[in-house]
């Protein structure tokens, strides 16, 4: 069969082209403006083999469809000055925010319907009577009833869920008011009545959906950013086989596999060391800050970070059998403070909902007794329900927390839980993990007593050592010029010896170089000829930590350091930061017990920690914060993740949390004040649809305006 025209011949090729390669997502934090968009898109689209590249400025991501390896794209972006981090597609999950789109559709529909019905209502309010009024009411019913049936479903579902377990939440009075308003108005319309509340039913739905959508939007932004943090960690390992090395997902590893861990990477599974020597950082597992030396045959645990040269190990436990997972599993069984907490809105609902229902019932019975007209009594009772419907109450908390969460997002905080701010506002004690939270995996050296020539010898020796402490010393002495050395020999796990213009010099463990016993034995020592000079070092504090400590203390919070590291190290850091309560040698269980004891004593503890050893305490604490550098298990357990490197803004988090609760309370008060005026009028039977519309809009707008004050400094 021959093709009839050239286009038909070209068609199969076009179909092949249409099978686009999978999209690669890259996080580009430096994305800021329109110039970035066009620079990145034009640069990437100009590359051969790139199908499309599209920037998402809101998420600060670039989506690229290409056959090229991701590293090529990263390099291409680096060449025009943008740091890009590939994101793991699996951890990112399916994109497309279906729930948000659904809420937006309902909100849009109820908004359009509300405006149309409101127009018809204005005609009625301004004096339409008889057949015209009935016609307008009928048209309103035709718009309002299907719209309410569709748009108010989220409230109906939540109310049904609460009633099923025998509880009352805010959605119960909301649903009741919406349904009764629509039903009563329909009945009145069919019987030629004067008052129909279709506009009230719709504006209730619309205002409350705004609250719901705002809440959803900020929370999903925080969630997707949290997912992005997880997706930044590439869950892959390098396995050695008979044919060379291959990169495989960690889940594909099995016992007995030979695994290579490059410098600076985490050990993926538990295993036995097959290299001669290795140094690892165990801070994430135990909180110890010093590098741990290992020799052949030692057991390494998943989560340790390789500080030295690439190391080889044989897997002995994989997947859920690793120590990392065993600790993580304890978290599931730990008591979770979050599940016990009742949110401010729910507490208000528990008082408010029954009160409203009783009020409406009493009104109904009262009017039946007074004039015996059941239809009138029902009308008045429903008017009471509509007037008291917690439109402003439903907005009171979401509006404030939405404003607060988006403000905090700009300050570098991801608030993952809806009630996190309320719980943070109640915190009295802050428990701090030391390693990784207050400190960074770096060391600072106190070298004030060294002469420039001693410094240059130290620098030269440090440069020839693979030991992490020595390398940190080398980085610390960047400005010194290394002294010329000869006969350099490195003694693995001990230190470096060399000769410097006829003098024997060495850098290494104090015990190896004949230092005195005692606390200096572990330290780093420089030996020049017969003289030994101990090099004192301390952990570098994380950026902004002193500011955080000062801020938290002036906010009246009690601070307490809980560390898995040695007592001496914990004490030295606590002294440096001016914290008088601290404890070292804490196991994960000890930390959990301490949090539990404080919680029982009513001190509402907040845990700030980053390691797997903090995870149980993070879960148990009344509120919890994790730095962005934390292990993902710790980030998942925490309520708030500090995305920025600096901790300086943490006091602002607590201040904003307290302000959020204060503004939420004010909003409740405003809503109640409106009710206090409108309810007596409604009970007396003078309520009109116009009044209901005014009260509802005014109280909602007041509450929203009050919520916006969160941006203003307290």
């Amino acid at each position: 069969m021959t093709a009839a025209c050239p286009a038909c011949v070209a068609a199969p090729a076009a179909i092949e082209l249409a099978q686009m390669p999978d999209a690669v997502q890259l996080s580009v934090p430096a994305l800021r403006c329109a110039a970035c968009i066009s620079a990145i898109e034009s640069h990437l689209n100009a590359l051969p083999d790139v199908m499309t590249a599209r920037v998402n400025l809101s998420l600060k991501r670039v989506e690229v469809r290409t056959d090229l390896p991701t590293s090529d794209i990263t390099q291409a972006l680096a060449s025009i000055g943008y740091d890009a981090y590939p994101l793991d597609a699996a951890a990112l999950g399916e994109d497309g925010d279906q729930a948000g789109r659904d809420l937006l559709m309902r909100m849009g529909l109820s908004g359009f319907a509300m405006m149309n019905v409101m127009l018809l209502s204005v005609a009625v309010w301004s004096g339409a009577v008889g057949a015209t009024r009935d016609l307008f009411h009928l048209i309103s019913a035709a718009i309002a009833i299907p719209c309410v049936a569709y748009a108010a479903q989220p409230f109906f579902r939540n109310a049904a869920r609460a009633l099923k377990v025998g509880r009352l939440n805010m959605d119960v009075p909301i649903s009741l008011a919406i349904v009764l308003a629509a039903a009563m108005s329909l009945y009145e319309t069919l019987h030629g009545g004067a008052h129909a509340y279709f506009d009230a039913a719709l504006s209730l739905t619309f205002f409350l959906l705004i609250g719901r959508y705002l809440e959803h939007r900020t929370r999903s932004a925080a969630r997707s950013a949290a997912k992005e943090l997880t997706a930044l960690e590439v869950h892959q390992a390098t396995r050695q086989t008979a044919h060379g090395s291959e990169v495989v997902p960690i889940s594909a590893l099995s016992i007995g596999d030979a695994i290579v861990v490059p410098t600076g990477m985490r050990v993926p599974v538990d295993g036995t060391l097959t290299s001669a020597h290795a140094d690892t950082d165990r801070a994430f597992l135990t909180g110890e800050s010093d590098p741990i030396p290992h020799t052949r045959g030692a057991t390494l645990h998943a989560g340790e970070v390789n500080l030295g040269a690439p190391l080889h190990l044989t897997a002995t436990a994989v997947g859920t059998d690793t120590r990392l997972h065993q600790i993580a599993r304890l978290v599931d069984t730990a008591e979770n403070a979050r599940n016990r907490y009742t949110s401010l809105a729910d507490r208000a609902a528990q008082i408010y909902a029954p009160a409203v229902h009783v009020l409406a019932l009493v009104t109904f019975l009262g009017w039946v007794l007074v004039d015996g007209d059941i239809r009138h009594a029902v009308n008045v009772a429903i008017a009471v329900l509509i007037i008291t419907c917690p439109c402003a109450l439903g907005l009171a908390v979401p509006a404030v927390s939405t404003a607060a969460i988006s403000k905090l997002y700009k300050l570098g905080f991801l608030v993952k839980s809806g009630t996190a701010l309320e719980r943070l506002a109640e915190v009295q004690t802050v428990l701090l993990d030391k390693t990784g939270t207050l400190t960074t995996p770096n060391f600072t050296f106190d070298l004030g007593s060294l002469s420039p020539s001693q410094c240059s010898i130290a620098k030269a020796l440090a440069d020839h050592s693979a030991h992490p402490l020595a390398r940190a010393l080398g980085r610390h002495l960047q400005e010194s010029v290394p002294a010329p050395l000869t006969q350099i020999e490195e003694h693995k796990g001990k230190g470096v010896r060399a000769v410097w213009t006829d003098t024997d010099v060495a850098l290494g463990q104090a015990s190896w170089l004949g230092g005195r016993d005692g606390e200096a034995r572990q330290g780093l020592t420089l030996k020049i000829g017969p003289v030994t000079i101990p090099l004192t070092y301390s952990e570098a504090t994380r950026d902004g930590v002193p500011a955080m400590i000062a801020g938290l203390q002036s906010a009246g919070l009690t601070l307490d350091i809980m560390s898995g590291d040695t007592d001496a190290k914990t004490r030295s850091l606590a002294d440096r930061l001016g914290i008088d309560r601290f404890a070292g040698h804490m196991s994960p269980e000890d930390k959990n017990a301490r949090v539990g004891a404080l919680a029982d004593a009513g001190a509402t503890p907040c845990m700030i920690g980053d390691g797997i050893n903090d995870t149980i305490a993070l879960t148990r604490a009344h509120a919890s914060i994790a730095p962005g550098s934390a292990l993902d298990a710790a980030r998942n357990a925490a309520d708030v993740v500090v995305v920025s490197d600096s901790m300086a803004q943490v006091p602002a988090l607590f201040a904003t949390a307290r302000q959020t609760v204060r503004l939420s309370r004010q909003n409740f008060a405003i809503a109640l004040a409106y009710n206090a005026v409108a309810v007596p009028i409604a009970i007396a039977g003078f309520a009109t649809p116009l009044m209901a519309a005014l009260a509802m809009s005014l109280s909602s707008i007041t509450v929203l305006l009050n919520a916006m004050r969160i941006g203003v400094k307290p």
Partner: protein, 53 residues
């Protein structure tokens, strides 16, 4: 009041048009990157529609 016979269907039609337009913006992912779309207007040569990404 006979004018209502025309005006009411017209207003309902316009309302429906608005809802349909809104539904269309939703289905074509026009709310995925509000900041980006706002900035793209400043780029001389736009590189495509949002749904092509």
């Amino acid at each position: 009041m006979n004018v209502l016979v025309f005006l009411i269907p017209v207003s309902l039609l316009l309302g429906t048009l608005g809802v349909v337009a809104f539904a269309w913006t939703l289905t074509t992912d026009q709310y995925d990157d509000p900041e980006g779309e706002a900035s793209r207007i400043l780029i001389d040569e736009d590189t495509g529609r949002p749904d092509q990404s």
